[in-house]
């Protein structure tokens, strides 16, 4: 059961991931993405579950099997990173070592994630992107079978995001992980994942490769952008409206009749069908 703004909602999903796959989970907030990830990790117990990983049963409510979090071969990256404030970067990684583990992996990960200069710093002195890299490295120390990422990049700016996507891809490939990542960003899904699940109100709405899933509404001959009008200028008999969207300024042509509806500062939608842009006011 999910506790959402609309009351209780059943979380009812079933899916399989191939070994080595990169699965993205996409959906609005409150649809059960994080709960799903926590159930996989064993942090949340559900009423009826069956989770099997490489022929090993992790959860089976019928036979009352519930493998503890500690015994699941997982790496979990939390949304708030959850770095231990009392330990340095290096100690955070070393904490994840088990009794007879080779300590080599810690220095290897520090190098791979380019944390050499930060290894003796405490987490509270790091930037968001740096914390993220430490959290990612720490989750890999145990060489888990499955890496679970709960919106790891949502708090970062675009530049940092792109860089960290590369880090994630790098470790996913190097350590032959099976990765499950929650994300809100469609470009991120295309860049990283082989498979995507869209969750809606606790159910799987769509599932498949990113291009299969997003082909209909998101990518078509039509594009849509939202932005803000920054200027309206007259040029001969037509008007040119400048719309600021993302980091771009788009110029759209409008007739005198059309511009009556537009004001500077208004939020607008710019859509194009077959090279014929349409511009309309957002309510």
């Amino acid at each position: 059961m999910l506790q959402t703004a609309d009351g209780k909602l059943p979380l009812d999903v079933s899916f399989t991931i191939e070994k080595g796959q990169f699965l993205a989970i996409y959906g609005n907030s409150g649809t059960g993405k994080t709960t799903l990830l926590r159930i996989l990790a064993g942090l949340t117990q559900a009423e009826k579950t069956h989770i099997e990983v490489a022929n090993e049963v992790w959860d089976n409510s019928q036979n009352k099997i519930h493998l503890s979090v500690q015994n699941r071969s997982i790496g979990f990256v939390f949304q708030d990173y959850a770095l231990f404030p009392n330990l340095t970067v290096k100690e955070n990684l070393e904490f994840a070592l088990q009794k007879n583990d080779n300590t080599q992996i810690v220095s290897e990960l520090i190098e791979l994630m380019e944390l050499q200069s930060l290894q003796n710093s405490k987490p509270q002195n790091l930037s968001g992107g740096q914390k993220q890299r430490v959290a990612l490295a720490r989750a890999i120390v145990r060489k888990p079978k499955i890496l679970l990422l709960d919106e790891p990049l949502s708090a970062l700016d675009d530049e940092m995001r792109f860089k960290l996507q590369d880090y994630i891809l790098k470790i996913h490939q190097k350590y032959q992980l099976t990765t499950v990542m929650i994300t809100h960003s469609i470009p991120e899904i295309f860049k990283l994942s082989d498979k995507v699940i869209i969750l809606d109100k606790g159910k799987i709405l769509k599932e498949g490769t990113p291009s299969e899933v997003f082909s209909e509404e998101k990518i078509s001959s039509k594009f849509k952008l939202t932005g803000e009008i920054i200027s309206i200028t007259k040029s001969d008999i037509i008007y040119i409206i400048q719309v600021f969207s993302g980091n771009n300024i788009i110029k759209v042509v409008a007739t005198e009749n059309e511009i009556k509806d537009f004001k500077i500062g208004q939020k607008v939608l710019v859509a194009s069908k077959a090279f014929n842009p349409i511009i309309q006011v957002l309510s």
């Binding site: 015994n71 939390f78 708030d80 959850a82 231990f84 009392n86 994840a96 145990r142």
Partner: protein
Amino acid sequence: MIDLDPLWLTAKLAFITTLILLLMAIPLCYWLAYSRFRFKAVIEAIISLPLVLPPSVLGFYLLIAFSPENAFGKFLSDYFDLRLVFTFQGLILASVLYSLPFMVNPILSGLKNLPTTLQEASFTLGKSRFSTILKIILPNIRPSLLTGIIMTFAHTVGEFGVVLMVGGSIPKETKVVSIAIYEEVESMNYDNANVYAGILFVFSFSILLAVHLINNKRKTALY
């Protein structure tokens, strides 16, 4: 010259009480902070009761309970040969109950302010509950632990009502400084009372100063 026994007895009582409470409060607070027990509020209210209850009320009930005339006291005396009325052991038990909120409240609020993901992260890294508490949770609430220890120690030193009810005033057994002051005043030895009072005054002030210094440091140190 004042008798030094009450000072020594007070220090011993405060030290033992603080130690017992620290060992008790850590598991208790951990349970209160993380469990979903339905009647948690009731337990928290009971723990905080000594904050508002007149010490003489608590002392009175303990006196009744400990008395060998009654079931609980008789049980202790028959099976464990333990007498809690007018003994040092009785004082320790009374102090533990009376100072409970002073240890529990800071530790509990420290735990509640700690993000739960820290504990979960430790679990996902394969660490047991015990090693998580020892290596992650306790080090990250160190200021709260220190506040709890200092406040408990100071509060035990300052006890009067409960001690008087349960312990009476037996030299070298239950006559602590606060009782000694009262008795010196009763017998008009103002000079001695003054020395005892001065020592407690300076002590209490230093303790509070230490707590505030720790708390100010915490604000700058964490996050």
